[in-house]
Symmetry: C2
Subunit: 411 residues, 2 copies
C-alpha cells in the first residue's frame, strides 16, 4: 500500500481508538449451556461518528442488515448493538425485533434510535427472544468500558477464539488508531468474507471517503477468504469514525486517505487471516499466493479456486501433497491459464518443496513434503506464468469437525 | 421429453446393444491391494461406429482427453480402452502413453489405432505404468464377451458400487438399445458431471446428430450433479453407435431423433443419480427440485446452489432440518429471487414437511422432520415464485468419510 509508512499493532480492540467504549453480557438468547455464554454486545461512541458498512450480497438478507443499510444512508451512527445465538432472519416479526433492539439500546444510552446500528448472528428462521435482549440492555450499558474483550466474546458462535485487534499509525496531523472485533467460523465466503466485523477509528474522515476506504479494504481482505463457499444472510462489516485523533478530516483521495486505506486494509487482512484459520473445524490456515497471472483479477480467481476446492482442502487436512488437486482447481477456475507454464511450491515454516514445474508434476521427497504440510500455516505458491497479476487469498482445511459441527448445528 | 413413449430398463450395460462386447482385467496399474482389483477395461464394436464425446472444461486436461478430442473429429471409432488407478495427467510422457495404449489395443484387435479412444482415471501427476497396461491387453482382448460388469468394475476408483444400465425403446424401424457404464465418486461437478461414462447404442445415427444428442443429454443429467464442486482433468463421456438395430439412420432433428434424445437423457439421468448417491462418503442422495423460477436457467442456478452448499450438505448428513441453510444457498445463487415468495418442503419416502412459507421459516414437527431426512433419498422442493422455470439437480451429503477418503487419497 502506497502512503502508509508504518503500522504498529497494539493491545485491545474497538475501544483502542479515542471516544469508544464497549461491553458484553449474557442476556439469554443463547440457551442450553451450563456456562452463561455472552450473547449481547454493545459498542458506543461518546461523540457522533461518520459511519459506513458493507453487507452480504445474499438476496436473502436478515432484518438487521436491512435496517442498517437504511440507517447508514445518513452516513452517521453512534452505537452498534449485536447479539449471537439467533440471526433474526426469515422469521416473522424480524424487522420489528431489530428496530426494538436499536430503540431499547438508544433509550438506555440517551441517544436517537436512528443512530444505533444492529447486528445478529446465529440460527436462521427462529423468532428472536426480544425479552431476553431487553433484559440485557441495562447491564450492557452499565458495563460499558475500555475493555473490548467481552464484546468480542459476545458475538462469537462456533468461533474457537476471540478475534480483536488494534493498530496505530501516523496521519499528517497526529497519531490515529483503528480497532476491531469480528467473528467468523462457518459460512465464510467472499461478498462478504465475515459474518460480523465492527471497526472503530479516531481518524477524522467524511462518510463518503470512509465508505470508499471500507470497500477497498474489504475487497482485499474478507472477500479473499473462503471457509466453505457459503455466504450468510447476516454478513456485516461496519466502521465508525469518531474523528477525535486531532488530524484534519479526510475528504478527498489525498495522502492521508492513502495512509488510512493502507492501515485499514492491513487491519482487515489480519482479521481475515484469523477468520480463515478459525474456520469451522480447521486445523490449518491455507494461504494461496498466485503470481505471474495475466491480471490481478485472474490471479484472484485462480487463488480463490484453490482455496475453495474441497479436494485440496481435504488433502491439506491429511498433509497429503496432492498437487493434482491444486492443478485441477486452477484448471477449472475460469481464469486464463497456460497449463504448461505453471509452477507450484508448498511452503511453511518447516521448509518448502516444489511439486510442479511447467505443468508437470515432479517427483519429490515425500517425507519433507509431509513435514512442510504439517505446519499450522501452509502456503501454496503458484507461479501461473509470466504476467503481471498477483493475489493472496486465505482459507482452511476441510476436516471431520467441519462435518460434525454442521451436521447438527441447530441443537 | 417429447417423442419418447416408453423406455424399458433391462439387465446389462454397454454390451446390451447389438454389436458390442466388453471385458475388464487386472493389469497392475492399481497396486498395494491384497485383492487384484480390476484396472483395465475394453469396449469393442464389431463394426465401425459413429462416435461423439463430451469432455472436461478444465483447462488442465489429461492426455487421453486431448487424444480423444482429436480422434473424435472424424466422428468414428470402434473401441475404448480405459484404466483406473492413474489419471495419466500432468506427468512427463503422458500423451505418448495414451497413444501407446490405443496402439497396443488396436494391434491386438486388428483395427486401426485411430479408431481406438482412451480414458484414464486416478492419481494425477504420476507416470502411467505402460508396461502393466501392455501386459494386460492380451487377456483383455481374449476376455471380450457379452458381460459388461468387469469393464464397469475396472473403471471404478473410490466408487462403492458398479454403475451400469441398459434400456430399450422403439424407433420407427424397430427396437433400439442404449447401454452404459460409468464411474463417479469424488470430483463430480457440472462440466462434466462424471469422471468416466461410456455409452453404446445400436441406433443408427450420424456423427453430427449423435454429438448433438449427447450434449443435450449430458446438460440435463451429468451437468446437474455435484458431489464436491471440483471438476476433474479427465472427465469424459463417450458414445458409440453401431447402427445395427435396423432402423433408418437419424440424420436430422426428426421424430426418431427426439425419441433417441429422450431415451439417452433418461439413461444419463439414471446414471447421474447413481453417481450423486455414490459421492465419496455419501450417506444420502439429495435431489433438489425447483419450480416457479423466472426461467429454467434460473431454476438450475438455484437448485445447483443448494446441491453444492457444504452447510446444506452437512445438515442433511445430520438429518437436521436446517432450512436456513437452504434459504441462504438460494439467496447467494445469483439467480433472480423474491425471498418473500419462497416455499420450501423436505420430502422423502418417510413423509414430507413444509419448513418455509413465503420466505418465513415455520415451526414444524422436529420428530417428523428428522424422520423425513433419515431416508436414503431426500428431496428438497423449492417453490421459488410464480414463474415458469423448473429444474431438478442431484447431489449428496457431506460426511466424515468424504474427509477421510480425500485426506489421504494418494496412499
Amino acid at each position: 500500500m502506497k502512503g502508509l509508512k508504518a503500522l504498529k499493532y497494539t493491545d485491545g480492540g474497538v475501544t483502542a481508538p479515542s471516544g469508544f467504549s464497549a461491553s458484553g453480557v449474557h442476556c439469554g438468547v443463547k440457551r442450553g449451556s451450563s456456562l452463561l455464554k455472552l450473547d449481547l454486545a454493545l459498542i458506543f461512541s461518546e461523540t457522533e461518528c461518520t459511519a459506513a458498512g458493507v453487507f452480504t450480497r445474499n438476496s436473502v438478507k436478515a432484518a438487521p442488515v436491512l435496517l442498517d443499510m437504511d440507517r447508514l444512508k445518513s452516513g452517521k451512527a453512534r452505537a452498534i448493538i449485536a447479539n449471537s445465538g439467533n440471526a433474526n432472519a426469515c422469521a416473522p416479526g424480524a424487522y420489528e425485533a431489530a428496530e426494538l433492539m436499536a430503540c431499547a439500546a438508544a433509550s438506555s444510552l440517551g441517544i436517537s434510535p436512528s443512530s444505533v446500528l444492529v447486528a445478529s448472528t446465529g440460527v436462521i428462521g427462529q423468532a428472536l427472544n426480544t425479552e431476553a435482549i431487553i433484559s440485557g440492555i441495562e447491564p450492557l450499558v452499565k458495563n460499558l468500558g475500555k475493555n473490548s474483550s467481552d464484546a468480542a466474546d459476545a458475538i462469537m458462535t462456533t468461533d474457537t477464539f476471540r478475534k480483536e485487534t488494534a493498530a496505530e499509525f501516523s496521519l499528517s496531523g497526529g497519531t490515529a488508531r483503528i480497532g476491531a472485533i469480528c467473528k467468523g467460523s462457518g459460512m465464510i465466503h467472499p461478498n462478504m468474507g465475515t459474518l460480523l466485523c465492527f471497526i472503530t477509528t479516531d481518524a477524522a474522515i467524511s462518510a463518503d471517503m470512509l465508505s470508499r476506504a471500507l470497500r477497498v479494504a474489504v475487497n482485499a481482505s474478507f472477500n479473499r477468504v473462503s471457509v466453505d463457499g457459503d455466504t450468510s444472510t447476516n454478513d456485516s462489516c461496519i466502521i465508525l469514525a469518531s474523528g477525535l485523533c486531532g488530524s484534519p478530516e479526510i475528504t478527498a483521495e489525498d495522502d492521508d486517505y492513502k495512509i488510512f486505506v493502507g492501515a485499514l486494509t492491513q487491519v482487515c487482512v489480519r482479521l481475515a487471516r484469523m477468520i480463515a484459520g478459525d474456520g469451522e473445524g480447521a486445523t490449518h490456515l491455507i494461504t494461496c499466493r498466485v503470481s505471474g497471472a495475466s491480471t490481478d483479477k485472474d490471479a484472484e480467481t485462480l487463488a480463490m479456486s484453490v482455496i475453495k476446492s474441497p479436494l485440496t482442502k481435504a488433502a491439506i487436512f491429511g498433509a497429503d501433497a496432492n498437487v493434482g488437486r491444486v492443478l485441477c482447481a486452477i484448471g477449472y477456475s475460469g481464469a486464463f491459464l497456460r497449463p504448461d507454464m505453471v509452477d507450484i511450491i508448498f511452503t511453511s515454516e518447516n521448509g518448502s518443496v516444489i511439486v510442479c514445474e511447467k505443468g508437470l508434476c515432479l517427483a519429490f521427497d515425500e517425507t519433507l513434503a509431509k513435514n512442510v504440510l504439517e505446519a499450522w500455516e501452509v502456503v501454496i505458491d503458484i507461479r501461473a506464468g509470466d504476467g503481471p497479476g498477483s493475489c493472496e487469498c486465505w482459507g482452511c482445511d476441510l476436516t471431520y469437525d467441519y462435518v460434525r459441527i454442521n451436521g447438527d448445528y441447530r441443537s
